[in-house]
């Protein structure tokens, strides 16, 4: 008997919650998807174009090959992203550009350096060391897993 009263009570609450979330959704401003997409495209594109420029610079000036220029290019982009994170600029860029500044390697550098700065007060080992991968950890774990799956598929296709 008591359980059926409880179920009825729960059902009534679930109904009220559903009605309320429908009512409340009307007040919530919709994300401006189109402007966000354009901003992300422009900023993300600009970061990548800049990366290309850096890569060409290493090839032309320091005689790197197209393959070996990758490492110093990525290092340069990471350095700049960390610098702009420390200067308090990257988070403002992120609010404007969304995925445009989050997806390139600079976004990855930002996620690590921002966590490192944030937790500096808790010490170098437990603070910086322990928290640096707080956001980046997920990207690394699932990046590695995805790479393994893709290479397994490739290996099977080649063998068959």
């Amino acid at each position: 008997m008591a359980s059926s009263v409880n179920t009825r009570k729960q059902n009534r609450l679930a109904k009220a919650q559903k009605e309320y979330s429908e009512r409340a959704a009307k007040y919530k401003p919709k994300p401006p998807y189109l402007t966000n997409i354009v901003k992300a495209f422009l900023v993300g594109g600009a970061i990548c174009a800049f990366g290309q420029l850096v890569s060409d610079f290493y090839i032309r000036v320091f005689g790197f090959t197209k393959e070996t220029a990758g490492n110093p290019t990525v290092a340069t982009l990471i350095f700049l992203a960390v610098l702009f994170t420390g200067l308090g600029i990257y988070d403002k860029l992120g609010q404007f550009a969304g995925a445009g500044s989050a997806v390139p390697v600079t976004g990855f550098a930002n996620s690590m350096s921002s966590a490192a700065i944030e937790h500096r007060a808790e010490g170098l080992v437990l603070g910086v060391g322990g928290n640096m991968f707080k956001l980046a950890g997920g990207v690394i774990v699932y990046g590695v897993v995805a790479a393994l799956v893709v290479s397994l598929i490739k290996w099977i296709i080649i063998k068959v």
Partner: protein
């Protein structure tokens, strides 16, 4: 059966002349630049307030607010019988560490952003019942410590939606005692936890509005008052989204809030300040109430005020496990009265 001072199940009416003796606030830079800047006692030019960490800065602001409130009440620290304090950090460390600097017995409290009115209600009840002569009620929040605990690192470049809110950096403190000429604390309505199933931790306005509506309508029902009996009614931190929802929910309950209703989270920042939907945090209601509203009650431009502080009772663990956000609201009625 009702207890002696109970006015309905949730509302207390204070029988004695319980009054605000003095109040003070300390805030961060963005709040200082806002439209209420001139009302604040201490404004710090940066988020560290001269301290080594944000956590230290938060408790330093709370300490300053308490010290100044006691001083403005013409009292000594040794005359305060109890301090009721709360904040948003795990194990309410801001309150505990602040109290370790004060030689006053502590009752730590947690009601998320409703802590301001939670501590004021309980403090007033202690004074009214004669368990304390003078009580300090205080709470604090800090934008960076709250972001660190509840969301992402401050410098992380994530995009926040327009309905997100900006945690207010600051602390407010109030001294309550019997007699004097300060604003009278007449009623307190203690809220129930209301969970309407909102799960988005950025959307706290939608989550908290039903709790505020519940407490406010209960208050009006218990006291036999209407919104028009007040010169100003404020909610703590509903922001633009929650403000609009609350007005319509109250209309649905046949209460017209329009002419007197405002939200502390909207009052504290100007329209040109980038704070998304508005301010949030324990300090939002505390800073506005313990400066602007107290000052207006003292100079007589406001006769009666109702403060409804709203709190979202979630933790990073609860929302990551997909739980909805339970919310609460406590309301306190203040009145300017002759001695």
């Amino acid at each position: 059966m009702k207890a002696q001072h109970q006015y309905g199940r949730q509302t207390w009416k204070f029988a004695n002349d319980v009054r605000v003796q003095g109040s003070a606030v300390a805030v961060g830079p963005l709040e200082g630049e806002g439209p209420l800047g001139a009302e604040f006692d201490h404004i710090y030019p940066d988020m560290y307030a001269g301290q080594a960490s944000w956590e230290k800065a938060e408790r330093y602001m709370m300490y300053q607010a308490v010290q100044t409130a006691v001083k403005k009440s013409n009292l000594l620290e040794s005359e305060i019988d109890i301090v009721l304090a709360g904040d948003l950090l795990n194990q309410t460390i801001s309150s505990n560490f602040t109290a370790s600097q004060l030689n006053i017995p502590l009752l730590g409290m947690f009601g998320a952003c409703s802590t301001s009115m939670e501590t004021l209600s309980v403090g007033s009840a202690l004074v009214d019942a004669g368990y304390a002569s003078y009580v300090v009620a205080t709470c604090s929040s800090h934008n960076c410590t709250a972001e660190k605990q509840f969301r992402y690192p401050t410098e992380y470049g994530g995009q926040k939606p327009d309905y997100a809110q900006w945690t207010v950096t600051g602390a407010g403190a109030v001294v309550v005692g019997r007699g004097g000429s300060g604003p009278c604390i007449t009623h307190a309505t203690i809220g129930k936890v209301v969970d309407m199933g909102i799960k988005d931790p950025f959307d706290m306005g939608s989550a908290m509005a039903p709790a505020a509506a519940d407490t406010l309508s209960t208050h009006f029902h218990d006291t036999d008052r209407l919104p028009s009996d007040y010169d100003i009614i404020v909610t703590g931190d509903l922001g633009k989204v929650g403000y609009a929802i609350l007005k319509d929910e109250m209309r649905g309950l046949s209460f017209d809030m329009t002419p007197v209703y405002n939200d502390c989270g909207l009052m504290i920042y100007g329209p040109d300040q980038q704070v998304f939907s508005g301010g949030s945090g324990c300090a939002s209601s505390a800073v506005v109430t313990y400066s602007y509203i107290m000052n207006r009650l003292r100079d007589g431009s406001i006769k009666r005020a109702l403060i409804c502080a709203t709190g979202a009772l979630f933790s990073p663990v609860s929302y990551q496990q997909g739980e909805s956000i339970p919310c609460i609201a406590h309301a306190v009625a203040l009145e300017a009265k002759e001695e």
